[in-house]
């Protein structure tokens, strides 16, 4: 009997949590929706492909890269099929940077994946993000004003957004343009590691639109 009651209480608690989460979806996005470079990166919580809840706050004190992606977007493919993105991920995570790949494609649109498919993509592409976050409602994407795939953000150890924009200075989908391009994310990470200001903190992101609902 007491066991049953306990179960029921747990169930009720669970419902409460669900309501809270739904309330969270309706909560206002900080900083009037679009983030500002030089300002604190807004906190968010999302679900990783592993099913684990991931908060930006979990990585306080670490450098964090946010990468918006859609594996079928030609601009994303440019950087994955040339190994450019994976190399940068490996380099960054090797230096203790947290790399969060975020998928904001809504269900039924290009790039939307199940958790299992997300993990498969990581394996087959030999990618090494710290986590892949699934954001099918686009809440995190819209909070950060992510308009493109790829759209890159760098957050420093103090939690300040120090870079927002493109991965590099060649806004094309041509694989050949990876060679000789100036990689803005790498430059930002180097600057952060050296405690220097990021020289080019804002650039125009290029790519496909994020497939928000």
């Amino acid at each position: 009997m007491s066991k049953l009651r306990l179960t029921r209480r747990t169930f009720l608690a669970g419902t409460g949590a669900a309501v809270l989460v739904r309330g969270g979806l309706l909560a206002p996005t900080p900083a009037g929706a679009v983030v500002k470079v030089g300002a604190p990166a807004p906190a968010f919580t999302s679900t990783a492909s592993t099913g684990k809840g991931v908060s930006l706050a979990d990585y306080r004190g670490q450098v964090v890269v946010l990468e918006w992606t859609n594996h079928d977007c030609p601009y994303v493919r440019k950087h994955y099929e040339t190994g450019n993105m994976q190399a940068l991920q490996k380099e960054a995570t090797g230096q203790g940077v947290t790399w969060l790949t975020i998928i904001s494609s809504s269900p039924g649109t290009q790039g939307h994946v199940s958790p299992r498919q997300a993990d498969e993509l990581t394996t087959t592409r030999q990618a090494s993000p710290s986590a892949v976050l699934l954001d099918p409602t686009g809440v995190v994407g819209q909070m950060y004003g992510a308009t493109n795939t790829p759209h890159m953000y760098v957050i420093d150890r103090a939690g300040t957004l120090v870079y927002a924009g493109a991965i590099d200075d060649k806004p094309t989908s041509r694989r050949g343009d990876v060679q000789g391009a100036q990689n803005y994310v790498r430059a930002a990470l180097q600057a952060v590691a050296a405690n220097q200001p990021v020289k080019t903190p804002i650039t125009r992101a290029y790519g496909c639109t994020v497939k928000y609902p």
Partner: protein, 696 residues
């Protein structure tokens, strides 16, 4: 074995339902864009420049991009392999369309676009031969997804010695495309950038506001403005002013901002889109117009205000007071001049303080912001009406507001002069004098100290003529001798005031409709009656006079009440309408929404406000139309109305969660508690709502 079969069937069912098959969003049949090279002429000649064009035939629903693709995408690219001596120019981009995608805005083309390019043949080209222009075209074409495509392009043309004949297919297409391409702007342009917004001023004087149905500024590069943000524009005597949220790149507004201004002009046969290449220089406010110049402009503006029909009577009557008492004591005169100036300056401080305070609260307001309130407009009409009645001689309100009357000699009535100054400021609100807009525009972008200084300069300008008259005795001698002409002049001066009252009532009619006009007119009648009672009671004595005074006060209160009642009537009318509409629209609450969604009902949420014009238009043209009502009924859509008229915090949170800070917002939730809502555009049409509803 059996298990495998079941699994296969399950898998097939899942694929058919399209549920988790996201990896397999089908690739569309390529090419989505068919390209060809067109020539304007059938042949070419040595040394001549001729036009060719890349024509893209785009699969419906897909689009390619403009030179600035906006927030995503990339412009088409051409790489030429031209015969020796030939040179090809840049693409002459026709003005793009706006393609909104969530929080992003793309600039591009759909269905068909012709991109003209000028090519110059070398001088020594021998006639009789043939020339082939070759190249590689690559582009990205997007719908929801994007596909990169490319194609080899080539065009062979004979070389002739004679004047080349026009190509019957290429010539009209290229001519039309070149016609559509932006013309150099004939108007100087500038912009002011604040941390939040960029305001462009295009000195297109003489534009007819009635004929321009749309204006949009397409920046040539990313970063200066938010591509997806609404662009607010208006046309007045100074030209076109266009205001848009500032983009994220600070250096983009450090120098000139280039782009294409597209205006749609209403013509008898339809609407024509006209494009102009604009180069806007950073204005004054962001560096050019110095505080000193702005203050000087404000002073000049204030001086000119004295001549405006709403202020002229006030000043003239003050001047007439001087004429009557030119022989009065100089010190007293001077004191009246200073009191009047103090009254003006104090009122301007109040106006500037309010403006600065509201600006700190995030609102962008300009001169005359008070006129946005119908109540204020009605009260202003009352004040001007009383002044006019007094000038007409229908009511003699002692020497109060004409200030320098008999009281002047008695050395009293300084308070009267002070309040005349305040009155002059109030009367000046509906008027805008030349020079003022530049100065006030400058003040709007500056820190509060500078803004206050500019406003005080404006006030000083307004007060200056009368102040000087009182301060400089030599000028008083220039005034004509008193006489009966003064009475006639006073009576004449009443008419600009009556005209101002008529104009203000018209303003009320725009803001509050017939009910507002009725209230304002009733108030005016009451004031007229009160004036008469007051006037008659002056002749009577003692008790009657007291009763009459009470009556006048009561009538005044009734008049103000009528004006205030109007706003009440308005909201009550809205409420009654809401109730009548109640069967269709339920009030919104997050709980009700969650409940309905949990029950599997599709829901349409209309986030609206009584003061939102676009909302009202959308409700009339789309949401209440028979087609939409039918579509909602067919799909069993429950309609929730979130009324944000009084800024309900629960609704503010909904807006915020969709990255909005204002209404309208239209959300269509498909059935199922987890289904993501469709955000409909802010400008609704019947078909937008019906289409979206059919899709759920």
């Amino acid at each position: 074995m059996r298990a495998v079969a079941v699994r296969l069937i399950l898998a097939a069912a899942l694929v058919a339902a399209g549920a988790p098959a996201a990896l397999a969003v089908p690739a569309p049949a390529s090419p989505l864009v068919a390209v060809e090279l067109l020539a304007e002429t059938q042949s070419i000649a040595a040394g001549r420049t001729f036009w060719i064009a890349l024509r893209q035939a785009i699969t419906p629903g897909w689009h390619t991009y403009w030179m600035n693709p906006g927030d995503s995408g990339e412009p088409p690219r051409l790489e030429w392999t031209l015969p020796a001596g030939f040179t090809a120019g840049e693409i002459q981009w026709p003005p793009p369309e706006r393609i909104a995608a969530g929080p992003a805005m793309s600039y591009g083309y759909s269905r068909e676009v012709v991109l003209p390019i000028a090519v110059t043949a070398p001088p020594g080209l021998a006639p009789g031969g043939r020339v082939t222009l070759r190249g590689q075209a690559s582009w990205i074409v997007c719908e929801k997804m994007c596909v990169p495509e490319e194609a080899a392009i080539a065009l062979t043309l004979p070389v002739t010695a004679t004047m080349p004949a026009l190509d019957p297919r290429g010539a009209p297409l290229i001519a039309a495309a070149r016609r559509a391409a932006p013309a150099p702007s004939p108007w100087p342009a500038s912009f002011v950038a604040t941390p939040e917004r960029v305001t462009f001023a295009i000195a297109a004087r003489g534009l007819d506001a009635q004929r321009i149905s749309e204006a949009w500024f397409y920046p040539a590069r990313w970063g200066a403005i938010e591509h997806a943000a609404p662009q607010r524009w208006r046309i007045d005597d100074a030209g076109l002013t266009l205001e848009v949220a500032r983009g994220p790149l600070p250096e983009a507004v450090a120098g000139p901002v280039e782009g294409v201004l597209v205006m749609s002009e209403r013509l008898d046969g339809g609407v024509a889109r006209q494009a102009f290449a604009v180069r806007a220089e950073p204005h004054a406010g962001s560096g050019g117009l110095s505080l000193l110049r702005a203050a000087a402009l404000a002073l000049a503006g204030g001086l000119v205000l004295n001549l405006m029909p709403c202020v002229l009577p006030v000043l003239s009557v003050k001047a007439l007071g001087l004429v009557r008492h030119a022989s009065g004591r100089r010190a007293a005169l001077r004191a009246h001049g200073l009191a009047y100036t103090a009254g003006v300056l104090a009122s301007f401080t109040l106006v500037a303080g309010t403006l600065i305070g509201l600006r700190a609260g995030g609102q962008q307001l300009g001169w005359g912001f008070q006129l946005q309130s119908p109540l204020f407009v009605t009260l202003l009409a009352y004040v001007l009406f009383v002044m006019a009645l007094s000038l007409s001689g229908a009511v003699v309100v002692g020497a109060r507001w004409t200030g320098a009357g008999q009281a002047l000699a008695a050395r009293a009535g300084y308070a009267g002069s002070f309040f005349t100054g305040a009155l002059a400021t109030v009367a000046a609100t509906p008027c805008t004098a030349p020079f003022m807009s530049a100065a006030v525009g400058y003040a709007a972008t500056q820190p509060w100290t500078s803004a206050l200084l500019v406003f005080e300069a404006l006030g000083l300008g307004l007060a200056l003529p009368y102040l000087l008259l009182t301060l400089v005795p030599a000028w008083q001698r220039l005034l004509p001798a008193p006489g009966s002409w003064m009475v006639r002049l006073e009576q004449l001066l009443a008419f600009p005031l009556y005209a101002s009252v008529a104009w203000l009532v018209w303003v009320v009619s725009q803001q509050a409709g017939p009910a507002g006009v009725a209230a304002a007119l009733a108030g005016l009648v009451l004031i007229g009656f009160a004036g008469w009672v007051y006037q008659v009671s002056r002749a009577a004595g003692g008790r009657w006079r007291r009763v009459a005074t009470a009556g006048v006060v009561a009538l005044g209160v009734a008049a103000v009440g009528a004006a205030a009642l109007d706003s009440l009537i308005d909201t009550r009318a809205t409420r009654v309408a809401a109730r009548a509409d109640g069967r269709a629209w339920e009030p919104f609450s997050p709980q009700r929404l969650a409940e309905l969604r949990a029950a599997g009902r599709p829901v349409f949420v209309n986030v609206t406000a009584a003061w939102c014009l676009t909302c009202l238009v959308n409700e009339r043209v789309a949401l209440r139309s028979a087609a939409v009502t039918d579509a909602f009924a067919r799909k069993g859509v429950v309609r929730l109305k979130a009324d944000w008229t009084t800024r309900d915090p629960a609704i503010t949170r909904v807006l915020g969660s969709f990255g909005r800070n204002g209404v309208p917002l239209y959300l269509l939730y498909p059935p199922g508690a987890a289904a993501a809502p469709t955000v409909l555009p802010q400008i609704l049409s019947e078909s937008v709502v019906v289409d979206a509803t059919e899709k759920i």
